[in-house]
Symmetry: C2
């Protein structure tokens, strides 16, 4: 195992935390994918790697496969390039023979997905040889031996003692005694793992920026953030290159504005740039630039940025898509796919409610990136408040979340009983104020109740049981999260049970219409014609609707959202769901790598999704009935375009057209009739008072 | 255990199969509930009982508690009468003291259910003493020792060797070798267990009978049946008292008609008499008469009746509620409660489709009475055809039924492949006819295909694999049965999955709105205000609707039925569901003892249920859309009466009015607004094309 003749390192940043070259034998060949020239690469290696190369006489090569893949139109897909380079460096076949066989393999592998993909990969392997360079080790220019710690020096003790060990794959050596004995796991640790995986990162032009904050809203990793800064605040201690500009809009006129990227946490998905609203590509306020061209100062800038004061929800008059981004996200730097369409929704929830929020998370993508050890992306604000998160099974997550609400109610009851016993020893106004706000989860209610509780704590002895229960007097919000595999399939029985209850529960279904995390199996949400596992010839029957059946019972709030199509409608739905005193269901369209799309366009495509009629936007609020209004409001217009125009954008559908065009057309026809039938139903229901 | 000082036998017919008096000690007191006078009772006892009484010097008493309970208005509830008799016969308390204490206990126990019930029970215990008689044993009039077998001499071998032993509680002594090794269990065995539990049974007046057959349709135990008899058939060998009359209606004009009760299988529920449509009680064609007044010849008559030729579905031009009863039921004499509201639906299914039917039965009442050993109520016609039945769990029964359909498809495929290999050796017309009818489950299709298969079998060698698969060429129908505990709650996830499929599956939910079999817990189908376990103060939130959410997907046939409210609509829904090539769902209202009603009025009350608007009748057939019609048809009119008028009929609701009238009224108001809201939704959906 430690005597490899050939070693390929496809992601240069992995060298940082992994002693990869330890696995090579004497005289072995090593191939790096890096943006560096052959000369520059030597300098970029640490002392540890340089010593391996010299001691073992390793033959080192480098190729910039990432840039080549980008140029060939297969962004991020470097596998064939690296394979071509391997054959060029090994003597298993003549280069000509290897090229011929590889082209055949590419054709066989990708022809189901279309000719364009085949040609792009063939072009990439044909150009590989010209970009492959040998690296000459220079003993005279050995770097200094480094003993840089895996996590920053100022990281918390737990992170240094446990997380850092896990990050170095040394978890097996940790004694059981270092783990929390009650099963809790600290949050706010992803910030200590600097993955540094982006080859390209966005750069901000403060001049042309309109301060719309869309980049921040859509960023799946919270790696691009904005802040309003009090103009009275001295920024003298800011790093030299830290940029601010005048706040351009009305709400915080007279203050400063800043936008900050964390290059080490960015995954390079490019969503921010694609969504930056400028008439021309050239005048966008964000441009992707090569990671190595970004000064390390940006890391310090980000560190500085996070230390600046944060707004609280109460500080914002009207929270909409734009202003929501002035709030601190309490989900950051998760291990979700680059360009993930789910995390922006959850991040948004944490910005609005993260400081008093419990999350029950179903098995699926969101449970993996939500709690993938060694680090936890859910984090805390400066007061130590943040989402309490736990993951349950596919088959019982809705019930799990219901249990959270019932536990809260039970704790509230104990707190109220304890408070009652203090009735005569605290001011009457305080007592009554606390009682009246016990279920008020509005921004004002939460803020006021926190003040009340602080006052209460000061009035009573530190040994009084009230101290233990006082925080239960502040209202909490429960969100149940999961994908369509959970909500439409395995967990639907429980979901329906919770929806039929009268409990104050919020449910968000992150619907990418497929079991992505387990390998791409079809779910009940998978639309007709889409290819997935167990539907390899395109799904035949109709994808199930979840929103309309739920409306039928009349007791639950229901909404569909698609953040890329209507950001403010998404915000409205979330706020209405949160304030609704019974069960609420939001079904959120989530772009996904399983759709066979360029992920940088995932959010943008949602506009066309809506225009096709395949994802009507609506909000159903039973509170409106008492006002004599229809509960259902339609937030998107009837389809403007044929479904085909959308379907052909996504390889999950379009690959069928080359293989079996008849089935492809049948699928489209079926989708089209589903759209029309559903539209007519929604129009009728919008009259139901 | 075998030295009891006191023994009460509350059901006289239990003596037949149980050596009850073996458990008494010398000089013990024995109390029978029987319709016999003290003198007559001695003669009714078998030699075995008479010998016990003489040898052990038993003190024997009798009381007709059943008649007393009937007279006091607490039909069937003899518990307090028997308790009073016990105290009169024991010296535990003075009779006056015992009476006083028992009255207090009655008040305490029943006051939650209303004053009427309290008074009725008090009246019953007050009259008990006058009706309690001592039986004088007369050694001179000892009966002959009998060795009558438990089951009839002509019963099948399995019934004699296994079922009969189980019936005598001797199952523990059976060797494993007598049980079928593959887990199958023979059907058609309930007919050999003559329970003889009815104190009163119906008697037919052929003159005033209109031959509407409603009595047969509603009979939960198939103990009252009708037949059309070919007038050319000689009935010379009929028992003397076997009655026929001229067939009065058009469809079989010129033939004979007969109606026959099986007194030994009747449970005395009285539904047939209540539903017999006559202007006055006195001129009804059915009257309840005391069981002992019915000559034993009626048992022979029933035996004779069952041997007479049966009609086949193909013989009936138009199958409706009336004519369906001319078909043989293949569910009979189950252990369901007397007056059960579920079994008439299943019996009807077996009359229409029993000869080519597979049933997947969820856990619940229907799984207990459907397969309660030692006997099986599902039976076979003279050709040995009958429902294949199996019970799965609460949580997977829909999937279980889906598996049956997939197994059928798989067997069909094998049969077709085998048939293909024979293509050149059988007539072309036969081959093509068989292929064209493979999925035709219409009466005509089934009949024709059976002829085809018979012809095919004659053409091929008896060793040919086709012999094994040929019967798979005849279409089968799959019915998934279960209650609301399964369909609305525990099994809903799977039910929804099957409904979203495109498989030809029929689902019937026997909805009694509560978990009856497990003890009366509330389900999601339990309506607001109804009292059930876990809803002891009346259910607060709304009962869930199952039909309307299912319509939303647009791919399934959906109907609600209530056999007592609209019999022909029930028939129509069942026939449409069966013929629909995709998934079908019928939600059937089932009257139940848990409703706190007089069960003899259960079916009749369904008329008022419909008038209250609480159970709108509809059929949703997606096939209609292609014809430019709305899929949904409303089969009942908007509510004519307030919900209160219905609710006060059922103790599950009304008992709350005495305990907590405010909650009762709130429940009624909520139900009323649900009815109106649902009605407006249904009216809208009836426009959806």
């Amino acid at each position: 195992m430690d005597e490899a003749d050939f070693l390929g390192c496809h992601q240069f940043s992995l060298l940082k935390n992994n002693d990869i070259l330890a696995h090579t034998g004497q005289g072995a060949t090593v191939l790096f994918n890096s943006v560096y020239s052959a000369r520059e690469l030597w300098k970029q290696l640490n002392y540890r790697e340089q010593k391996h190369i010299l001691n073992k006489n390793l033959q080192v090569y480098t190729i910039d496969a990432t840039t080549l893949a980008n140029q060939c139109g297969i962004r991020g897909r470097i596998n064939n390039i690296m394979q071509r380079a391997f054959f060029l460096l090994s003597d298993l076949m003549t280069p000509e023979n290897a090229l011929q066989r590889q082209k055949e393999a590419i054709t066989k592998t990708y022809q189901r997905k279309g000719e364009k993909l085949v040609n792009a990969n063939i072009a990439a392997v044909e150009q590989t040889e010209a970009l492959l360079f040998k690296v000459q080790p220079v003993e005279a220019s050995l770097n200094e031996p480094t003993t840089q710690p895996v996590v920053a020096q100022h990281a918390p003790d737990f992170v240094k003692k446990v997380t850092a060990e896990l990050l170095q794959n040394k978890g097996d050596q940790l004694p059981v005694s270092v783990f929390p004995s009650d099963g809790q796991w600290p949050t706010a640790t992803s910030k200590w793992e600097k993955r540094d995986i982006a080859s390209f990162v966005p750069q901000w032009d403060s001049e042309s920026c309109t301060q719309c904050n869309i980049c921040s809203l859509v960023c799946p990793h919270s790696a691009i953030r904005v802040k309003v800064i009090d103009s009275k605040l001295s920024l003298q201690d800011a790093p030299r290159s830290f940029k601010t500009t005048d706040y351009k809009l009305r709400d915080f006129h007279g203050q400063k504005y800043t936008l900050q990227v964390s290059p080490q946490d960015c995954t390079g998905c490019q969503l921010c740039v694609e969504m930056c609203p400028a008439a021309h590509e050239e005048i966008k306020a964000l441009q992707m630039v090569a990671r190595e061209s970004v000064s390390d100062e940006q890391n310090d800038n980000f560190e500085y940025f996070t230390q600046l004061p944060e707004l609280q929800p109460i500080d914002i008059k009207r929270i909409d898509a734009r202003s929501s981004q002035l709030l601190e996200p309490l989900l950051e730097f998760s291990g979700a796919c680059s360009g993930c369409g789910e995390t922006p929704y959850i991040k948004l929830l944490t910005q609005l409610y993260g400081d008093h929020m419990l999350i029950a998370n179903a098995t699926g993508c969101s449970s993996i990136y939500g709690g993938n050890l060694p680090t936890t992306p859910y984090t805390q604000n400066r007061q130590g408040q943040g989402p309490a998160w736990a993951n349950s099974l596919f088959e019982d997550n809705a019930e799990f979340g219901l249990g959270m609400r019932m536990a809260i109610e039970s704790e509230q009851n104990i707190a109220l009983m304890t408070l009652n016993s203090l009735k005569d020893s605290i001011p009457e106004a305080l007592f009554e104020n606390i009682v009246s706000l016990i279920n008020d989860s509005s921004t004002k209610g939460i803020t006021k109740q926190r003040e009340n509780v602080a006052q209460l704590k000061q009035l009573i002895a530190s040994q009084h049981p009230m101290i233990q229960y006082a925080d239960s007097l502040v209202a909490k919000t429960v969100w149940i999260l999961g994908g369509d595999g959970w909500a439409f399939d395995i967990g639907y029985g429980g979901l329906d049970h919770v929806l039929a209850s009268d409990k104050n529960i919020n449910i968000m279904v992150l619907n990418n219409q497929v079991y992505a995390n387990t390998g791409g199996q079809q779910s009940k949400a998978t639309p007709t014609g889409a290819i997935a596992k167990f539907a390899s010839e395109g799904k035949e029957n109709a994808g199930k609707d979840l929103g309309m059946p739920t409306m039928m019972n009349g007791n639950a709030y229901v909404a569909t959202v698609a953040i890329g199509a209507n950001m403010n409608q998404t915000l409205k739905a979330i706020q209405e769901a949160e304030s609704y005193p019974g069960p609420s269901l939001i079904i959120a369209y989530a772009s996904c790598i399983t759709h066979g799309i360029n992920m940088s366009e995932g959010i943008e495509q949602q506009q066309q999704l809506i225009e096709s009629g395949l994802w009507p936007l609506y909000r159903f609020d039973p509170r409106r009935i008492a006002k004599g209004k229809a509960a259902l409001q339609l937030d998107s217009r009837p389809a403007k375009e044929s479904v085909e125009r959308f379907v052909e954008l996504q390889n999950r559908f379009s690959q069928l057209s080359t293989r079996d065009n008849e089935s492809y057309q049948l699928g489209i026809a079926s989708l089209q009739s589903q759209v029309e039938h559903k539209q007519s139903l929604l129009s009728l229901l919008a009259e139901w008072k």
